[in-house]
Amino acid sequence: MNYVIIGNSVAAVGAIRGIRTIDPQGNISVISRERHVAYGRPLISYLLGGLVTEKRMAYLPEDFYEKNRVNLLLKSEVVGVNTDKKQVKLAGGDTVPYDRLLIATGGDPFVPPIAGMAGKDKVFTFTTWDDANKLKGISHDIGRVVVIGGGLIGLKAAEGLHLLGKQISIVELADRILSTAFDRPAGRIVAKKMKANGIDVITEDTVVQIEGEGAEISGVTLKSGDFIPCDTVIVAIGVRPAAGFLKGSKVEVNRGIVVDDRMETRVPGVFAAGDVAEARDFFSGQKNPMPIWPDAYIQGDIAGVVMAGGEKSYSGGVAMNSLELFKVPTISMGISNPLDPKDFEILTYQDLENSQYRKIVVKGKLLVGTVLVGNVERAGIFAGLIREKIDISPFRGSLLAPDFGVIHLPREIRNALFAPYGKVA
């Protein structure tokens, strides 16, 4: 059996391990357009800020590819897939045949057309190891940065640049930073900390023009009319699934590559996993991209097992983010900010002075989301309650307690989790 995986990040790793649990013999080839070994992509801001060295970027033990007998083709861009011939086409003309194909190409940064951007030297996106190195390399030439986008990428880019001593303004369209995960109180606490540390956070605004003569940037003009002087711009608005090379193929691409609960696309034998995939959402049952690191691994694992002939099924994507900025830890998961709050029960505790916020979102008898700022201890217990759809009615009153733990759960659940005769969780 010939397994080909396009992409070399966490979904690919999950898939390789998944395949090998079922099929120790089959050939596995991984094709990556980057020049690095598999790396923890979220670490690029740590690299930028000097918190980790290049050596620590590697996500896997050095012997991983050898131990798992994986052929790794780096610096190889896939330009097309012929699902009839079962071939992957590389830039340069080579074709790679497959029996089972996994597309795990992740996301490409989305760069909208902004007036004045064309021809400017110091406009960057921030999604790869090379992006981090590029910024580090010209760091002496960077003084003041405007980061367009206050989501995960924008905030981490800002953090990295701040560690390099740069002056930063973040411009976010929504009324709060990290708008997909945070609600207003959580966003406010973190924004306040950032401002206290010299990072300007502007919300409900966007960049409409990049100013400057020739290749030099002098600043940006916002929709509100304000002008922010700067010499560098980071575009961190978001990523789009990297599925462009599938144009003309029979693989269904919507916002991402559409897959079923086995991570298989409409084309038998072709799978997708990770940021590029559009799989079932845990809560809505609809399919959407879920660009979340643990979900990518889980999807990759399922794809790998199924490709190798095993049985495994996706229980649906749950968004979860852990982000610590300026010593304020935050963890959010699930439906953290319901669009129609009247259908939910929302419990909150806040002590904004001390950067403490705790929000529990309940629908009927089920926990569906949480936002934690400050006290994030054992937050994973909530993830377990969400995923296992545990009826929280018996301990609803304890959910907000700062020391909420398994002792508040019904005994049967505790037994299942920790007792020697319990079932598995």
Binding site: P294, M320, R378, G380, F418, P420
Partner: protein, 149 residues
Amino acid sequence: MKRIYTLEDVCIGCHLCEVACITEHSLSKEPVKAFLHEQFRPISRCTVEELDGGVLSLSTTCRHCDEPDCLRACISGAIQKYDNGVVRTDTEQCVGCWSCVMACPYGAIQRNVTKKKANKCDLCPDRKTPACVDACPNRALVFREGSQK
């Protein structure tokens, strides 16, 4: 593989398991020195929870899951599952992002805020039986074969 299981009915809430864990993971492996004289006192990897002033108590720790949620959430690859089944955190590689804290449904991972590193049971690699199991005066912790997800 052998794992640590909890018998909550016989737990007396004495916290000796936590003391033993801290001592085992200290430099000196002696409780007085570990608690008073060493620069960094380790954080206990097992957690004793109590309710109603101790009427109910139990010690919980990492399950060393077959499919660890922490490993899947770890962004740096610091958490790995070894051939003997133990799920270990490489402290050097850990960047303290707390993704594992977010993912573990057992709440088994602690944050070492001072060092900005994740802290988790390693099944005491230098011992035949984990320190917490040995220390429990009422045998509320057992080390035995079992599966976990």
